[in-house]
C-alpha cells in the first residue's frame, strides 16, 4: 500500500485494548503514522497539534460532541468532516454504524484512500466486540463458580455434607425448581446471610 505511509491517523479511544487492536491492524496494513489519544482533559489541544488526516472514534463515545465542536471551530485543522466513507454506500454506512466506528476525514482526502482504513476499522471494532463478549462470558463463568463454591461450603458446614454431596444437593434442588445452579446457590447465600449463618 504505497500511499498508506503518508496518512496520519489518530485513534481517540479510552479503551486501551480496542485502540491497540485497531492500531495493530492498521500497522499490518502498512500504515505507520498512528497515534492513540484518550478523550480526557485537554485531548482537543493535543489533537490540534497532531494535525491528523483521519480521526477514528468509537461511535458510542460521549466525547463525540466535544470533538465535533472542536473540528468545526478549529483554525489549526483543515475542517475534517464526519464520514462513513462513501455517503451513497448505504451498506458501508450501516456496517460502520453497527460496528460503532465514526471517522473524521480531512476534507479533500480522496475517498479511495480512506475506504480501506475505515473498512479495516469496522473489521477490527467487530473483532474487539467479539473478544469483549468472550471476556465477559469468561468473567461470568468465574464468578458463577465462586458463588457455587460458597454455597457448597455453607451446606458442608451446616449440614455436615461432603463437597460432592453438597454439590449434588444444589444440583437436584436446581433441577426440581427449574432454575440454574448458580441461582439456587445465590439464593442459599442470601438466605444464609440474612439468617446470620455467616460463612
Amino acid at each position: 500500500m504505497e500511499f498508506g505511509h503518508s496518512m496520519r491517523i489518530v485513534i481517540i479511544d479510552d479503551s486501551g485494548l480496542r485502540a491497540t487492536v485497531l492500531e495493530e491492524g492498521l500497522r499490518e496494513a502498512g500504515y505507520d503514522d498512528i497515534h492513540i489519544v484518550p478523550p480526557r482533559g485537554a485531548f482537543v489541544a493535543r489533537l490540534e497539534r497532531m494535525a491528523p488526516d483521519v480521526v477514528l472514534m468509537d461511535l458510542g463515545s460521549p466525547s463525540r460532541d466535544t470533538l465535533e465542536e472542536m473540528l468545526s471551530v478549529s483554525r489549526a485543522l483543515a475542517r475534517p468532516i464526519a464520514m462513513f466513507v462513501d455517503q451513497s454506500d448505504e451498506a458501508m454506512i450501516g456496517a460502520a454504524i453497527d460496528a460503532g466506528v465514526s471517522a473524521y476525514v480531512v476534507d479533500g482526502l480522496r475517498k479511495e484512500r480512506v475506504k480501506p482504513v475505515l473498512e479495516l476499522a469496522v473489521r477490527r471494532f467487530n473483532a474487539f466486540a467479539r473478544i469483549q463478549a468472550e471476556l465477559d462470558e469468561a468473567r461470568n463463568a468465574l464468578s458463577d463458580r465462586k458463588v457455587i463454591d460458597r454455597a457448597k461450603s455453607i451446606l458442608m458446614a451446616q449440614r455436615n455434607l461432603s463437597e460432592q454431596d453438597a454439590y449434588t444437593l444444589l444440583r437436584s434442588s436446581a433441577m426440581n425448581q427449574g432454575k440454574k445452579i448458580v441461582d439456587v446457590a445465590q439464593a442459599l447465600i442470601t438466605a444464609s446471610d440474612l439468617l446470620g449463618g455467616g460463612l
Binding site: 461511535l59 458510542g60 460521549p62 460532541d65 465542536e69 464526519a82 448505504e90 454504524i97
Partner: protein, 404 residues
Amino acid sequence: MTTNLRIAFLPLTDVAVLAVAQERGFAEEEGLSLDLVRTTSWATLRDRLVYGQVQAAHMLAPLAVAVTLGLSQQPAALAAPYKLNVNGNMLVMAKDFAAALDPDLAGRLADPLGTAHDFAAAIGLWRRKPVIGVVHRFSSHALMLRYWLASAGVDPDRDVVLRVLPPSLTVEALHAGEIDGFIAGEPWGSAAVEAGLAETVAVGERIWRRGVEKVLAFRQNWMEENPETVDRLLRALVRAAAWCDEPDNHSALADLLAAPRYVDQPADLIRRALAGEMVNRAGEPAIPNPDFMLFSREATPFPWRSQALWIYSQLVRWGMVEHSADSAARAGAVFRPDVFRRALAGSDVPMPGASMKLEGAVHSPLAVGSRKGDLTLGPDRFFDGRVFDPERIDDYLAGFVQLR
C-alpha cells in the same frame, strides 16, 4: 400486526413521553412497539437518524434546524411534527463562582436580568475566563445561555468560554475543575447541586417561560412516506404526555426513568424536575416551580412554526448561518403543525387555529381560538420583555445591542 419503530434518545428526564408511550401501553394501543435506542452523544443520535439506523429521534430542536440547513455534518431535511416538552433546563455554577451572586436563591432565580448583570460583574472577579459547559452548539440550552448573557452585555464568544460536553459528563467535568458551571437538561443540574458542587444560577423557564426543548424528529422523506405510522405514533405520544403531566404519576414516572436503560440516575433527582420542586443549593428546601418542565398542557406538543423561526433568528444572531429568505423558509418548515393536525384530527386534543404566533407576547394565561376544546396558552415571555414576530425577523435582530 405490530409495527416496530426504532427511536434514538439521550439519557435525560425529557425522554419521559417516549418511555411512557412504550412502557405504559400507549404505543401498543396504536399497534406500535417502540425500540428506544440509548445514545451517548448528540452527534451519534444525529447520525443514526440521518443515515436511517433509526426512524425517529428525541432531538434538540435547534439541532433539527441545523441539520436541515446543512450546519451539522451531512445535510438532511428533518421534520418535527411533535414537541416532546418545553422547558426543563438549569444553569448551575460552581459554589465559589455563585458566591458573587445574590445569596437569596429565590430572589436570584426570580430576577434573571439582575442576575445576568451580577454574573457579568462576577466574570471579572473569577480567576480565569469562566468555562461554561453546554451540551451542544445547536442546543436550546446554548441559545438561551447566549441570550441571557448578552442581555447584560456579555459576549458569549468573547467573555466566557463555552465548552461542549455531553450531559452525562457535566458533573464529572465540574468536579475535575475543567468547567466552572454548565447548562443542561435535567437531571444533570440537580445531580451537580446534590453533589454539593454547584448551585442554580438561572432556570430555563425564567429565561423564556415556554422555551422550546426536545422535538420528535424524523427524516422528512420517511415521514412523508409513512403517514399512517407517524399518525399512530403522535396519537400514542399525546396520550403518554397527558399521563406524564399528571402529578399523581410523577413518582411512578421518576422510578421508570431511573432505570439503567433510560436515565440511570436516582429517582429522587428525576422527580424534582417532574414535580417542579427544584433544590437549588444542597440541603436547602425546594423552591416550587410548577412550570419547570411541561409535556402536555397548553398544547405543549404543538410545533409552532414561529418557534422554529425563533431558533433560526438566534442562529443568525450568533453568526452560525447567513440570513436569507430561503434559509428562513427551510428552517421554519422543519416544524410541521400540518402533520400534528392531521394525526390528531379525530382526537379531543385542543388544536390551535394558527401555525404561527408572536413569541413572548403572553404575560398571563390566555384563552385562545382553538379548533376544538378549550385551549389556554401559558405565559411565554422572555425575561427581557422582547417579543419575536416571525414575520419581522430582521427588525427583531436589529433590536439587539451589537456586542462587538
